[in-house]
């Protein structure tokens, strides 16, 4: 193995190792959430994943962003086939090891090139949409400096990677045409052939340096990118798949039942139950009602938080947000992830979580929570089936059942439901007034 082969292998190992370490932390963080068994209807789950994640089924609801995204996505997935060749070449010092595939190789390289150009153009348009046209959903108040930079870093990185790939191919062709060893005239280059003129004036030695430089920029760029994404909103490229597999398949407006409350209510309604019975000595401590912190949310809500790429489609469809309320479903997801990462750092530092006097409620205010109409426009809009309403519901439950914090009118509504079976102060005995006043009784 050559020196460059050893350097490459070390880089590959380091990149893979760092990524694995971060992934383990993220898996650990997601598992901090409440247990919830999600494995019913597997056929429907695979179909949902195929349609929504693999097939980008919800992206095209907004055609411009949707189609551009499909280009970047297809480019990302397919160009990574090239990665296999790069890794083999890098370790064993070969050059274009798959060239023996002949016409198939031509087709592959040609399609990579077309896609690379597509990705390049799409990312450039995305940068314009974010920074020049300043689309509203990319400049809302939760889109502070870091989320905006994160998006731009990713787009610029993709442009650099694609540029390096195309320039690598262009220099490679010039060298191959001059018959320089080991460059071989294989592959079809529908895009980079137009870059050749820029390189034809250079000496063989300079071109070989360029070619190697672009090769290293491309592959090291991919390694850096790989390790950047778990810290970034861009993590959705991996989590979109499991997250859609674990989608809520029940009707979106169906609120999850709290079985523990069912036990208690049944006990309350059972005339033969002993109201003074002490729980058995070995009973586990009672779980909290609703969500105070990330530990109280379902692990799926935490995976949702890591899957969010902050596109803001949820918020742009949210009736509360559209009318100037504080609530933004995207912010709910970002806050959940930020808090979860904070808890994760706490665990890294202390071995186990040490109370830091903070909770998810420090980030998501009551005013935000009480603005939700549970209309599920956000869950419908989300291209990776994230459910912000689930988090909002769990947090409302904590406010009401643990802290008795609610809006005064809601307290009145609770009292009415409890006392007269309707959210308004009308007596249950009046239930048939409508029929009586028409003589239907």
């Amino acid at each position: 193995m050559s020196i460059s082969g050893i350097v490459f292998a070390l880089c590959l190992f380091a990149a893979g190792g760092l990524f694995a370490v971060k992934m383990r932390k993220i898996v650990r963080n997601i598992r901090l959430g409440r247990d919830e068994l999600i494995n019913d209807r597997p056929g429907e789950r695979w179909a949902t994943m195929a349609r929504v994640a693999l097939g980008q089924g919800k992206m095209v609801a907004r055609p411009i962003a949707g189609i551009l995204h499909v280009v970047v996505y297809a480019g990302f997935v397919i160009i990574n086939i090239e990665l296999l060749e790069i890794v083999i070449d890098g370790i064993f010092g070969t050059h274009r090891v798959f060239a023996f595939l002949g016409p198939l190789y031509d087709v592959l390289i040609a399609s990579f090139e077309v896609l690379a150009l597509g990705v390049f153009v799409a990312c450039a348009i995305f940068l314009v949409r974010r920074n020049v046209l300043r689309l509203k959903r990319f400049w809302m108040k939760e889109m502070t400096a870091w989320p905006r930079s994160d998006a731009n870093i990713i787009l610029v990185a993709e442009i650099i990677l694609m540029g390096a790939f195309l320039k690598m191919n262009a220099t490679d062709q010039v060298l191959a045409m001059r018959g320089v060893d080991p460059y071989v005239a294989v592959g079809s280059y529908p895009v980079s052939q137009f870059l050749r003129p820029f390189f034809e004036g250079y000496s063989d030695g300079a071109l070989m340096t360029f070619e190697r430089m672009f090769w290293w920029v491309h592959i090291l760029g991919i390694f850096v990118f790989l390790n950047y994404i778990p810290y970034s909103k861009h993590f959705h490229i991996l989590l979109a798949f499991p997250n859609t597999w674990y989608s809520k398949l029940k009707p979106s407006t169906q609120v999850a039942n709290m079985d523990r409350v069912t036990q208690e209510v049944k006990l309350m309604m059972d005339p033969s139950a002993d109201p003074y019975a002490a729980p058995p000595a070995d009973a586990p401590p009672p779980e909290r009602f609703g969500a105070k912190d990330v530990f109280d949310l379902s692990w799926k809500s935490l995976m949702d938080a890591y899957s969010c790429t902050e596109c803001g489609r949820c918020t742009s469809e949210c009736p509360a947000n559209l009318t100037g309320k504080l609530l933004s479903p995207r912010k709910v997801m970002m806050d959940t992830r930020d808090r979860l990462e904070e808890v994760g750092r706490n665990i890294d530092k202390n071995g186990s979580f040490q109370d830091d006097g903070r909770s998810l409620h420090d980030r998501i205010s009551e005013e935000e929570l009480w603005a939700c109409t549970t209309c599920n426009a956000c869950t419908e809009a989300c291209p990776v089936n994230i459910d912000p309403v689930g988090i909002i519901m769990d947090m409302r439950r904590y406010l009401v059942m643990e802290e008795s914090r609610t809006r005064p009118a809601l307290t009145a509504m609770f009292n009415n439901v409890e006392n007269n079976g309707a959210p308004w102060p009308f007596a249950q005995s009046e239930q048939l007034r409508w029929a009586e006043e028409e003589g239907y009784r």
């Binding site: 504080l326 809601l410 409890e418 079976g421 309707a422 048939l432 409508w434 239907y440």
Partner: protein, 262 residues
């Protein structure tokens, strides 16, 4: 029809050893809200006209618990649910129809986990079935040339995937059915869901119902059709806000009753 419309309760039917074809779950708005009561009355006139043997719970009726659950009070929701399930199962209820998508969603999706299993229909689904069976006939003449725009209730459409039943009914009116840009799965909420109906809106720079009513009025309709008593209230207020009271906000049941001369 010669026989008089008489609304019976489950208790009265049970006392006579009878069982209705369907239980009409009236809901809080349908019982107590002045506007929604008109919907309730229109719907029972249709049921009567179609000779549907129905009953209501009457004084045994109690809130499904939907607003309590959505406002975070799971205890109260489950107390309501378990009591109601006790009542319904006690009468051996099998089929329920309701004109409220919130009651519909709760009865259909949330009661089974607590032991209440019923065939639950939204009234637009039930009316479609009556038309299909030939038990109900409508003539659309009086709506000819009228532009009608339908507002999808979130809990019927997005929540439960029912977009067609209300539209099929409206098609029968021979009016001109128009759509808002945000309709079906992307329909904009009226602002009442999630227990918002029972509280002041949180501070903002506008009201959801004004926004939605504005969008509906943008289609230049003669009638805004609703399928939910809360949407109806919100849109009626929204239309007033835009000073367009000549545009009527009507429940589909009211429109069908009118078209069927009931």
């Amino acid at each position: 029809m010669s026989d008089r419309l008489k609304v019976l309760t489950m208790a009265e039917m049970a006392a006579n050893g009878e069982k209705p074809e369907v239980l009409f779950w009236v809901g809080c708005a349908g019982s107590f809200d002045d506007r929604a009561r008109k919907i309730t009355k229109a719907f029972v006139r249709i049921l009567h006209g179609a000779r549907v043997k129905f009953a209501v719970l009457g004084v045994e009726a109690s809130c499904t618990g939907d607003p309590a659950r959505r406002a975070g009070n799971e205890f109260l929701f489950q107390m309501q649910a378990l009591q109601n399930i006790g009542t319904l199962n006690g009468y051996g209820v099998e089929r329920i129809v309701t004109a409220c998508p919130h009651c519909f969603n709760t009865l259909k999706n949330e009661y089974p986990e607590l032991g209440g299993n019923y065939q639950v229909m939204h009234h637009t689904q039930f009316l479609n079935a009556l038309l299909a069976e030939g038990r109900l006939k409508v003539k659309g003449g009086s709506f000819k040339g009228k532009r009608i725009v339908f507002h999808d209730p979130c809990y019927l459409g997005r929540g439960n995937g029912e977009y067609e039943a209300p539209r099929e009914l409206l098609e029968r009116l021979d009016g001109e059915l128009v759509e808002m840009k945000r309709s079906r799965a992307r329909g904009l909420c009226c602002g009442a869901g999630g227990a918002q109906m029972f509280k002041e809106a949180e501070p903002g720079n506008g009201e959801v119902n004004h926004e939605r009513a504005g969008e509906a009025l943008g289609t230049d309709p003669g009638i805004i059709a609703a399928g939910c008593p809360f949407c109806n209230t919100m849109l009626t207020d929204g239309v007033k806000h835009h000073n367009k009271e000549q545009v009527l906000v009507k429940d589909i049941a009211e429109l069908i009753a009118e078209a069927a001369d009931l």
